[in-house]
Symmetry: C2
Subunit: 229 residues, 2 copies
Amino acid sequence: MAHKTDGPEHAPLPATKRAPIVAVFVVIFTVEESDLKVLLIRRGVAPYEGQWAIPGGRLQTGETLDEAATRKLVEETGVRDVYLEQLYTFGDLDRSAEGGAVAIGYFALVDHDSVSLPRREEWPTAWYSLKSLPPLAFDNESVLDYALRRLRSKMEYTNVAYSLLPQYFTLSQLQAVYESILGKEVDKRNFRKRMLALGILRPTGRTMVLGAHRPAKLYTFASRQPTAI
Amino acid sequence: MAHKTDGPEHAPLPATKRAPIVAVFVVIFTVEESDLKVLLIRRGVAPYEGQWAIPGGRLQTGETLDEAATRKLVEETGVRDVYLEQLYTFGDLDRSAEGGAVAIGYFALVDHDSVSLPRREEWPTAWYSLKSLPPLAFDNESVLDYALRRLRSKMEYTNVAYSLLPQYFTLSQLQAVYESILGKEVDKRNFRKRMLALGILRPTGRTMVLGAHRPAKLYTFASRQPTAI
DNA sequence: TCAAAAGTGTTGTTTATACACCCATGT
DNA sequence: ACATGGGTGTATAAACAACACTTTTGA
């Protein structure tokens, strides 16, 4: 679905003036060792050459926005079929582009273990903890802030966490993911009660031994589709 | 704030190919006589000439997205300083535009009494009840669906209703606005309790006579800024 | 005096929070 | 045997939902 309506006053407007650049970028989150991280790319050209930025690129002809975001995600992580949602569209900055630039932002959640970062010399990528970000290009800091706020509120009422965990996981792992993202500890008993009451988890009957202690029951998400509970 | 990051593979891409058209449109809602309405415009050119559509137009050079949405809103309603929020960006359709089209959608809430529709022959506008929409251009039906879902959820936890009411209003008027938008009746006592408990309303001490019955107390919003309660 | 909307409290139910101990395992 | 994380229940508080009658006015 999409839309275009020319208003009365600029119906005939010729397409000769410099048109704005249209870019799509993807904020890719993961949780690794109970730490929320984001994938950044080091820019190989001006502006902001050498600085870290959120990965993105031009929208290609004939491509939908979702397709462009998926393409970017696959290029940078190799994963597909994860949670991917449109975040916001930014129209100010990049000021360096004459004619202006419009950037449609997405955010994605990936299971760290299923990602393989491409090896390359230019435009290298790396995971950065949200607690220790390098200086970022453009004002990507505020974009990350916005994405994080959105992610946190989504965690409260959806099953998006499915996309950050392997197929089978323990309730403690699930809790660790929540705590990493919300940035605060939650009560174990209340957390389990709430999650199980939601009915989005299915016990597998299997257990997993993780150390010198009682084995943990393994669960799986009843649905791996985004569900607005 | 905004963003643009060229990925490695298309850093040098020449700007010669047909660039996508960038348009901004605004879903303008109002409540009139306890009925939720949307402002539509009748298209004067192909595609979909003669059909009703959500008002919008090209993004102009040097303009931010918010500025473009505000400009459109003022052009069509004369009002300013109302609730205006970015909704979603659509990238598929208009298929008729070669090079593609990207449309950034906004939604706005206006007090019906402060609107004056422009009088003109071409591209006329009119309010339509959401209960009896004409056939729409592009697939604006699904855009309206989306906007309505967003509006409903916003009503639950924000003060956006301030933008749909005159400065002074009664609790019954406020309730009528909620019921029109949510599409269902709510309990009067619980509604009043909840609204007053939120602390976003201020009693004015004045009353208003509306008919052959007891006069109603007038309230005003403590803040006319968007507040995420 | 009648019709019509304004205004007002209580009770029961559901949901969220706070909090501490035993269990199964590896070393 | 001990250290480690896995697993479990209860009591209190807060939020929400259901429900009916009296008040003030204009006609």
